[in-house]
Amino acid sequence: MTEPCPVLLEQRYRAVLRLLPASYRAEREDEMVAAFMEMSGEVPDERGPRPRWGEIASVVALAVRVRLGGAGAEPRFVAWGEAVRLLALLGVGFQALVSLYSLLSHGLSTLLVAPPGARQVALTLVDCAWVAAYVAVMRGHVRPAKAAALVGGGSSLYALATGLPVELLGWSEGTAALIVVTTLLALLVGFHRDARPAPRPWDRVVPPLALAALPLALELPLVALESAMPGPEAEPLLWVAFWLSPDGLAIVAVLVAGAIALARRRSPSVLLALATGGMLLAAYRLPVGLPLEFNQPLWVTGVVQCAMLAVMVSLLLVAGVRALPAARQVSA
């Protein structure tokens, strides 16, 4: 009696290969299925054969690399890969600036007011792993950058999860965690084996870190004025305070960079990376724009910032998607 022709395993391998882009599958699927079947031997369907987890993981890794501009990828995927890597750079840079800003704030409050708690200092110091991650990735050292970002990200997420009692954790903490996780994911998957960053010279790596002092320098006179004025008279200061914090300045930066990128018709990768960054910032700012607690300067500023980001993100998305290279047509 002859055994039935095994088809179940082949079907399952083909299902796993659907993780790959259609254009890649059109070229490679039959060849890969043949290799899979030769490797596993012709196992009859009765035994219920399944692809092994290691094989599935290797296809997942291949799918990520191909979709993010791996070797020989089509131009559309190269553009997506560049967008993800740019988003990673923006995110790591933002986290590095925020951690340096916190460090400077603690230093200043130690000098002028009172030293912060040991927990706060420890978390801020560990958070500075983001600075190491930024420097490493800008210098082209991907592995150390990923390791440092994991340390910084872990510290940031721990601080977010334990900073407030569980019942008070809300949208802001959730979206801040989303920004951290998105940055980590973009860094981990974007800079794969086939996409090593070119090392940038030190004079382009270090100066941007000085921007961490900017929000502090802008906020200091405001705080001094506020403490010198009686309560109601200080209210006008609140109108600007929300633009001068690190996240407020990041919103301004995305709006300005977005406008420049649109005007100069930059590559789709730049437009899409800025659009994603803008979306994350808008999500973070959203609760401030909701009149839950009536504080006019705060929620009006929140509404204005969210509205401006919404317009900019929409424009960037439309322009970015339109500018993407066309997908390779796959014949049926």
Partner: protein, 163 residues
Amino acid sequence: MNITEPMFLALTALVDEPRHGYGIVQEVDRLSGGRVQLKIGSLYGVLDRLAADGLVELDREEVQQGRLRRYYRLTDEGAEALAGEATRLAANAEAATARLRARRAGPGSTAPESTVPGSTVPEPRRSPTGRGPITRPATALVALAGSALTALAARAAVNGGVA
């Protein structure tokens, strides 16, 4: 170009004849003594990289028992890159072996200069007098003499000077 171990083994697998995907997996397994077992997803990642760099190319297609087999062959650039990488690895291995040999010989001996990784094919090492290449027994003798002298000097220092 950074040639990883799977890339190196895949290139080596194609030196003698063109091979198809599973054939490369088997040959890499054999070459590495079972230490490197390429998964199919990883294999095609490696082949994509090598093809993009022009180190391998499609040789032919065959259909066997209704299944597609694509054979890949090594290009001239691939052979050149493989030779360069093999030389670099050989130089590393030689440097490591020489240092280990000196270590085994004793603390007073000095390790021969290591070859800089990535350099071209190393010339046969000459003796300081230029008479001929240093042989392993000669290195061992020099190392032995070195450690004997060191021990003598140490004993002399303890006893208050060399007689």
